[in-house]
């Protein structure tokens, strides 16, 4: 039967599969048809995998067997999902939307892929467009053209995980994975009207994801609802011996439920929200707070004295880590190779031909802040300020359970609007980078509109506090 993924969530699709209303193959065919008709315009997918119907067939078999045995099957079994192009799926190309890896085939599965596909039977539909090596806030830095926003194709989908967000908004898939180093899941989620979660640092294994800023990177889900995001998060989280930064359930103290009230206390750093907010974003923020108050949440003003340094700290630490992580692309072990007269010239030519302008900019900036004579003034100092910011958040969380801000200062901007001014583009991350600097979890929830463009609100919780995010997030989305 013909089905429309637009009308389904992961939860309702699972019910449909359980009741036999449709099969995983039906879902996969619907995803493929939707991509076929819309991807040319949106450029959300860089490639659709050639084995989608085979995967769906496996899922249908697993569902039939479970049904026969009178057993449940995993909620994600047979659900079509999209994967950001910096996550390895064995045998498939994983390019990070870069020329330097245009023809690189992954030789193993990332841990998150094993969990989704092997353990849960999810159907991986294809790899989604992104800013090259996840460096950008609009997906315009892709070597393969920008992704367009399904709500207005003259506008960006956000970034860096723009393809994953757009794919869900356009009804091509029911969920997706992205990576978030400074807002790369939450900001596109806000721009495309979907839910995007950046989990606690270490909650999800990064084995098999291409590193950008290793002290900041985290993989997380995109979905239409908080409940769906939670389903994907539950499937991918957990300690992994192959990623030594992963944490387990006991690493952070469980939320104490500070207020002991039925509803949580939400803090708002008003001092940081006075300037630079688009009028509609401000309105959605005010409306959201009013609605939450009506539902019994207590709203409290909080102070984060050093938060204004966040973006500056981020744009020192992240390029420093980028310059180190990008050193592996040398044209020797894998990826593009451009021949020079000797080995050293091979490096210079390969990296010049393979990396796009933003990647080069960040590599040079990182090399600068790490170089002798500047290290103390930049890298060392930025690390010290990072600790101050983290302490500010920890202190704030002594009196509130969650912190609410907009996800981004404005709705989706026009393609080309900010490409000539790196600092203007970087300011997109102003509200999102703090969660990466502190390692705390944060989620963007669709909360309102600016004309025909979606606006998301961001909730941040203390380390390990994903459950509070889900609880309050559900109350925000119910109101929309």
């Amino acid at each position: 039967m013909p089905i429309n993924l637009k009308n389904l969530t992961i939860q309702t699709a699972h019910e449909g599969l359980k009741n036999g209303d449709f099969t995983a193959t039906d879902l996969a065919k619907s995803a493929l048809a939707e991509i076929e008709s819309k991807n040319k315009e949106l450029n959300a997918f860089l490639e659709v995998y050639d084995n989608v119907l085979v995967q769906a067939g496996f899922a249908d078999k697993a569902i039939a067997e479970a049904r026969k045995a009178g057993k449940d099957f995993p909620i994600l079994c047979g659900i079509p999902l999209a994967i950001k192009d910096n996550i390895l799926v064995k045998g498939q190309i994983a390019s990070s939307a870069s020329k330097i890896l245009e023809n690189y085939h992954a030789t193993y599965d990332a841990t998150v892929i094993k969990k989704l596909q092997v353990e849960n039977g999810a159907v991986l539909v294809g790899r989604t467009n992104m800013d090259e090596f996840a460096m950008g806030g609009s997906t315009e830095n892709s070597a393969f053209g920008p992704t367009r926003n399904p709500y207005d194709t003259a506008r960006v989908a956000g970034g860096s995980s723009g393809g994953s967000a757009a794919a869900i908004a356009a009804g091509m898939v029911l969920g997706a994975l992205g990576s978030d180093t400074g807002g790369s899941i939450r900001q596109p989620a806000s721009f495309c009207g979907v839910v995007g979660l950046k989990p606690t640092y270490g909650a999800v294994s990064r084995y098999g994801v291409m590193a950008m800023g290793s002290s900041l990177d985290q993989i997380g889900p995109f979905a239409k609802t908080i409940e769906d995001a939670q389903i994907i998060f539950d499937a991918i989280k957990g300690k992994d011996s192959l990623d030594s930064t992963t944490i387990d359930e006991t690493t952070y103290q469980k939320e104490k439920g500070k207020s002991k009230k039925e509803k949580l206390i939400i803090g708002v750093p008003w001092h940081f929200l006075k300037e630079g907010l688009h009028a509609d974003v401000k309105k959605v923020l005010d409306d959201t707070l009013k609605k939450l108050e009506k539902k019994g949440y207590e709203i409290r003003e909080i102070s984060l004295p050093n938060i204004s340094y966040s973006l500056a700290v981020y744009y020192v630490l992240m390029p420093a880590e980028v310059s180190s992580n990008m050193a592996r692309f040398d044209g020797v072990k894998y990826g593009l190779h451009v021949d020079g007269k000797d080995m050293i010239e091979d490096y210079f030519k390969t990296r010049a031909a393979g990396f796009g302008p933003e990647v080069r900019r960040r590599i040079l900036l990182g090399t600068y802040v790490l170089s002798s004579g500047y290290y103390d003034a930049y890298y060392y100092r930025a690390n010290a300020v990072r600790k101050l910011i983290t302490d500010d958040f920890k202190k704030a969380f002594e009196s509130v359970d969650l912190i609410l801000t907009p996800t981004a200062p404005s709705p989706a901007f026009k393609i080309g609007e900010k490409t000539n001014d790196p600092v203007a583009m970087y300011l997109e991350d102003i509200f999102t980078v703090t969660a990466n600097l502190t390692g705390m979890p944060a989620v963007s929830v669709p909360a309102g509109m600016s004309g025909n463009l979606p606006i998301g609100m961001q909730l941040t919780a203390p380390h390990g506090g994903e459950n509070s995010l889900f609880e309050a997030g559900k109350d925000i989305e119910k109101e929309v």
Binding site: S244, Y315, V332, Y368
Partner: protein, 96 residues
């Protein structure tokens, strides 16, 4: 102000060829970014002494793992050049 000469030095350290135009543009861009990030210099850092962080080292079990012939083949096939079971690279030591 960062000079084009400094950009050239950074590009050299980072092993990236840059054209004259790119050097000029990058000098301009990086100047703009540094002007923005310079605000961290005014942050109230009480004491700039190094101290151990909260993170601790995590070791993996030191056990031998055997790569299957199939995986080895896949890895070698990703190398731009291979010779038999080796990744082929250019001679590194020059003869003067």
């Amino acid at each position: 102000m960062i000079s084009e000469k400094e950009i050239e030095n950074l590009a050299n350290l980072a092993r990236i060829n840059l054209s004259a135009d790119e050097k000029k543009k990058l000098a301009h861009d990086i100047d703009g970014i540094l002007a923005y990030v310079d605000q961290i210099k005014s942050a109230p850092i009480p004491d700039l002494k190094p101290e151990p962080g909260a993170v601790k080292n995590v070791m993996r079990d030191d056990t031998a793992q055997t790569t299957s012939a199939e995986d080895r083949e896949a890895l070698l096939n990703e190398a731009p050049k291979r010779e038999g079971d080796y990744v082929a690279v250019k001679k590194i030591i020059a003869q003067d």
